[in-house]
């Protein structure tokens, strides 16, 4: 069990227990090994955020168990310390900013860890660097004066400064402009590669999921519909559509070409689609540039 980083065992969770019960998770079982980059995709209300909050003990299962690094999150002692191991970036995390300066805000977590001022300083600089910001440049500015994208990155740095071994991000890309999305996604990927931390990315965007993850978890109405690598999960476009999701753009493009009688194989990333299109082009006697 300890080799698995996060393990959900038959987890069910309901909101408003007692009155007007809403089932958010129904009998969810899932294993996320150490060092993996997993995306959890699903439409609004599919239980993604509830799943995310179970990862660091903000919520604990009504039924079933969640284990993080082999420890049961339902135990009070485990639950209280879990924030040190699992960093959870909530939806619109920029709402949690409160300190007078960017530096102090990012330092809030490390100070709660009782790090010394010097260690804190290093953790803050490092965290801001990971999200592509310079501590010297913006450390002394008020976080409220930053742009939306910068605020988001500062908030994520606030979690990274805890140097968690698992990072759970709930819709971190929502509301960012295309360049902001691309940059943040790239930084996440880099962080995963360099630091070897486990990343759980919650999103409803298949393109983002396809671009970065090793494995994909598809959720629908509180249940896990499919788990696996891209190729396996993106089997049926129609099924995904019924769940309020969509294949990645590249996959739709390739299917569209296949529908018009071109011989292309399946693919899920833009690079892959470009290769397939070039193949058609070459087969027709065109010259590759």
């Amino acid at each position: 069990m300890s080799c698995k980083c996060i393990e959900f065992q038959n987890v069910s969770y309901m909101y408003n227990l007692g009155s007007r019960e809403v089932k958010a998770l129904i009998n969810v079982s899932l294993k996320i090994p150490k060092g993996e980059f997993v995306s959890v995709v699903g439409a609004s209300g599919s239980g993604k955020s509830t799943l995310a909050k179970h990862c660091n003990g903000i919520l604990t299962p009504v039924e079933g168990n969640v284990f993080v690094n082999g420890k049961n999150t339902s135990q009070r002692a485990v639950k209280k310390r879990l924030w040190k191991e699992v960093g959870l970036v909530m939806q619109s995390p920029e709402k949690q900013l409160f300190e007078a300066t960017v530096f102090d805000d990012v330092a809030f977590g490390p100070r709660n860890l009782n790090l010394s001022e010097r260690e804190t300083e290093r953790a803050v600089e490092q965290a801001l660097h990971w999200v592509g910001l310079d501590s010297k440049e913006i450390g002394k500015i008020s976080p409220f004066s930053l742009s939306g994208g910068e605020k988001r990155r500062v908030a994520i740095a606030g979690i990274l400064a805890l140097s968690p071994s698992v990072l759970v991000l709930d819709e971190p890309l929502a509301g960012l402009d295309p360049s902001g999305r691309k940059r943040l996604l790239g930084q996440l990927k880099l962080l995963h590669k360099d630091q070897g931390i486990t990343v759980v990315l919650i999103t409803h965007n298949m393109d983002d999921a396809a671009a970065v993850s090793d494995r994909i978890v598809v959720m629908n109405e509180g249940k896990i519909q499919a788990v696996g690598p891209l190729e396996k999960v993106f089997l049926s476009a129609q099924e995904l559509e019924e769940m309020g999701l969509e294949l990645p753009f590249a996959a739709r493009l390739l299917r569209c070409l296949a529908g018009r009688g071109y011989r292309v194989s399946e693919g899920y990333t833009l690079d892959r689609a470009a290769e397939e299109i070039l193949k058609i082009y070459r087969n027709r006697g065109g010259h590759s540039v």
């Binding site: 209280k80 709402k95 949690q96 900013l97 979690i159």
Partner: protein, 268 residues
């Protein structure tokens, strides 16, 4: 932490109580509350409690949900019972330190907390069965005569309506900021008072900032839909009193009249 608190939140329904004119609900509940406060005999309070419970039945609200939503009130009710039983002089039953618990104290404390409970039930019934829009419409209509005195009635009603509908949103905001800061190690559950106080800052600042931002957005959205403060605004559903509304008013007014006659008969 805030799950299940529904104070001041409307619960949709189709009951008689839901259908009463908001003015009737406001005035009727005020009349009943006045009666509960004026009546001095336990029998009288009992009659008002039965009336309140009868209205609760008529509202078709779930009892468990209704009373769960009032759980903060119970603390106040219990406190008033305790304080009262210490502070009224009379026949001493027990001594706790330098305090005396008296028979008269317990009796008046019980009556007071009983009254409080009935009043809370009555007023919650109004907010549970009336949308904030309807509530402020009723208040606006009732206060309209004061407009001649220069009181900005429609603005006040709008402010009231917005305040009421923002309460659940604020609780949500609090909840989400609490979880976010907990993820960064803020210990809101800490027993240490100084630590708790220090922890308020990371909680209050984002929430206040969030509320200001929401207020800003709301005012822009209202202006975009041509809201002008003070301009005469008609309503989609103009209020209109039906026979059931007059009956309810008559019943509650009569109850109060009987109480006043019985309690203050020396006046006549």
């Amino acid at each position: 932490m805030f799950e299940g608190i529904t104070l001041g939140a409307y619960i949709p329904g189709d009951s008689l109580l839901h259908k009463f004119d908001p003015r009737v609900k406001i005035i009727g509940s005020l009349l009943l509350i006045a009666g509960t406060l004026l009546v001095s005999s336990p029998a009288g309070i009992l009659i008002y409690s039965i009336t309140a419970l009868l209205l609760l039945v008529l509202s078709h609200l779930s009892w468990s949900r209704f009373f769960k939503g009032l759980r903060f009130i119970y603390v106040i009710v219990a406190l008033s019972l305790i304080i009262q039983s210490f502070s009224v002089p009379g026949e001493v039953l027990w001594q706790v330190g330098s305090f005396n618990i008296t028979r008269e104290g317990i009796f008046s404390g019980a009556l007071l907390s009983w009254r409080l409970l009935v009043i809370v039930i009555l007023s919650s019934l109004v907010t549970y069965t009336t949308t904030s829009i309807n509530l402020s419409a009723g208040l606006e209509r009732m206060l309209r005569p004061l407009e001649r005195l220069g009181l900005p009635v429609s603005q006040l009603a709008m402010m009231m309506g917005i305040t009421i509908s923002f309460i659940p949103l604020m609780l949500e905001e609090f909840q989400s900021v609490i979880t976010a800061q907990q993820s960064r190690g803020a210990g809101f559950g800490s027993r240490n008072l100084i630590r708790q106080f220090k922890n308020l800052l990371p909680l209050l600042l984002p929430v206040v900032a969030g509320i200001l931002r929401r207020a800003d957005e709301l005012s822009e959205a209202m202006e975009a839909r041509c809201y002008r403060p003070g301009a005469h605004r008609s309503r989609m559903r103009e209020l209109c009193l039906h026979s059931k509304d007059w009956t309810a008013l008559a019943v509650t007014a009569t109850m109060l009249a009987v109480v006043v006659l019985l309690e203050y008969k020396f006046l006549f």
